[in-house]
């Protein structure tokens, strides 16, 4: 039952009629509600090897990250907007290839929830 990893990772499809009920949310509208102390000098998230991402068929990180940190550039490379990260850890455990180097931001930096 465990999620398959590496090249064995398989995407599943929802029935079309269920999929059609999903709205298309612009995540930046949500990010505006968040407060961050951005560390301009150090990215706490890093793709370990872009070649692994290129080989990753389904690239689930482009979807499951709750704040849309991961996007794919025109050149096909995965871009990491670590500044938006809420440090949940989903990509740390969810990347099928464990290809993301995930560290905590330096002390005081990163998301600062106002409500929680």
């Amino acid at each position: 039952m465990a999620m398959k990893t590496g090249d064995a990772f398989e995407a599943k499809e929802l029935p079309e009629e269920v999929k059609a009920t999903l709205p298309n949310v612009y995540v930046d509208d949500l990010l505006m509600s968040l407060k961050y102390f951005i560390d301009e000098d150090k990215a706490h998230l890093r793709i370990i090897d872009q070649a692994v991402c290129a080989r990753c068929e389904y690239k689930p990180c482009l979807y499951f990250c709750p704040v849309g940190v991961y996007t794919q550039g025109n050149d096909g490379r995965i871009q990491v907007a670590y500044q938006s990260c809420v440090e949940c850890g989903s990509c740390r455990v969810g990347c099928p290839y464990k290809n993301i180097q995930w560290e905590l931001p330096r002390g005081g930096f990163g998301v600062a929830y106002k409500f929680g």
Binding site: V18, V25, V86, V93, L104, F115
Partner: protein, 440 residues
């Protein structure tokens, strides 16, 4: 430069619910405690549903109500909502046990609560060190932990005992070898929610609450997570609503779902949208919940160190418990550290008394009993889909006059279930639900 060696009697990593509880107990016992927090202030990294149980708070601060805790509302109504395609069946309880004084639980926002909780530790003498990330341990050659390394310049802090309350991303716990790998995505729920501002009177009117001394906490099952394993929640704050859902991370990854799309779909549901209509988004956020249960727990103690709270996967997903386990586990770890100091022995032999203490109370008993539940929703998707729809359809028909003989109606109701799930299978589902909860 001649740098002074920084030394404490104990170090706590993380000023959340477990960490501040541990620091409180140790400081009261006379120890010199460093409480290290990576955020700007305690709570800044924490995000939950949610409610906090008073039994755990009272355990450490019996007069907590006199210390003006920043609670939102007491939970005076709790239960389940079953969301159908366009309907909603509510099964909630109010009064009775929920009218206890003080209330059993308070709806809370962590960015307010956690600083107050840490203040109780500081009032007892613990020294809070914010904006500091612990990156590693200081260890002797035999492995005995004797302090932590922070990301500050000359960031070594020495102490004979370290209590790790680092949260769900248990990097330090792994560094110590207390668990050898990350939890599986199938053992993690990603919870995401919005805090939506609404006038207090509007919340009272829409949720049927007489005033702001009453609050609602519900789990929402059914058409919340596209028929996939997941559960929604609604909590009424004083002048805002915390509303969101949790979906297993493997589900989000495999179906390539954007959490914010799934959340919006839930908020747009015809039974949910009117409740939050006109509200302003105060904050969106997300947090992982370690729902793997007993089998996902790390080793809890080693030479010079103990683990408590989310870092140790202390969560009972079905009963929304986790915050209380964190507080009580933090307290028990603190008591064990006091025992170690009084004996002058910080080896695993004394540290493992922490696990004995956990076994005596509800935490390990409950986690053992519920060890099967973490897989239950995954293996029984009909609880997300067939049954909530059945309840809505059946009750809808029960309370509708079609001008048809009732016998026909009841046949139809039953048929709407048996078409989707045979009665024997349905009975089997109930048995396996009971098994996973009772630990049979």
């Amino acid at each position: 430069m001649n740098s002074e060696r920084i030394e404490f009697d104990a170090v706590v990593v993380g000023a959340g619910l477990a960490g501040s509880a541990a620091a409180m107990v140790m400081a009261r016992g006379g120890l010199n405690v460093a409480l290290i927090e990576r955020g700007q202030k305690p709570g800044g990294k924490n995000y939950f549903g949610g409610a906090i149980y008073t039994h755990a708070i009272a355990d450490l601060v019996p007069d907590f109500m006199d210390r003006r805790p920043p609670f939102e509302r007491p939970v005076t109504e709790a239960g389940f909502w079953f969301l159908g395609k366009d309907g909603l069946t509510r099964m909630t309880v109010q009064g009775g046990e929920l009218n206890a004084d003080p209330p059993d639980a308070f709806i809370t926002l962590r960015a307010n609560f956690d600083p107050w909780w840490a203040e109780q530790a500081q009032a007892a003498g613990a020294f809070l060190i914010p904006k500091t990330t612990v990156v590693d341990f200081i260890r002797e050659e035999n492995g005995q932990v004797t302090g932590v390394l922070t990301d500050r310049p000359q960031g070594e802090i020495h102490a004979p005992v370290v209590i790790i309350c680092e949260g769900v991303n248990n990097i330090l716990t792994q560094k110590l070898g207390l668990i050898h790998r990350d939890l599986e995505p199938a053992q993690m729920a990603l919870a995401f929610k919005k805090v939506i501002s609404l006038p207090m009177e509007t919340i009272n009117a829409r949720f049927g609450l007489p005033d702001d001394a009453h609050g609602l906490a519900v789990s929402v099952l059914g058409d919340v997570s596209l028929g996939l394993p997941g559960m929604g929640f609604v909590y009424t704050n004083k002048a805002s609503v915390s509303i969101g859902l949790g979906v297993m991370l493997d589900t989000l990854a495999e179906y390539r779902l954007r959490p914010y799309d799934v959340l919006q779909r839930y908020l747009d549901h015809p039974a949910i949208a009117p409740l939050i209509k006109g509200g302003q988004l105060l904050e969106y956020g997300a947090h992982l919940i370690p729902e793997g249960g007993y089998r996902a727990m790390p080793k809890l103690a080693t030479d010079g160190a103990m683990v408590a709270g989310d870092a140790a996967a202390m969560v009972n997903a079905l009963h929304w418990e986790g915050t209380n386990m964190a507080i009580v586990a933090g307290k028990l770890a603190g008591e064990t550290a006091l025992e170690a100091h009084s004996r002058g022995d910080f080896t695993a032999k004394v540290m493992s008394r922490y696990e004995d203490r956990l076994s005596e109370g509800f935490i390990l008993k409950d986690l053992k009993q519920y060890r099967g539940f973490s897989r239950f929703l995954e293996t029984h998707p009909q609880f997300m889909d067939v049954y909530p729809n059945f309840v809505n359809g059946a009750l809808g028909q029960f309370f509708t006059a079609y001008g048809k003989p009732k016998k026909e109606l009841f046949k139809g109701m039953l048929g709407s279930l048996t078409n989707r799930r045979g009665l024997i299978k349905a009975a089997g589902d109930i048995v396996s639900m009971a098994r996973s909860v009772m630990g049979w």
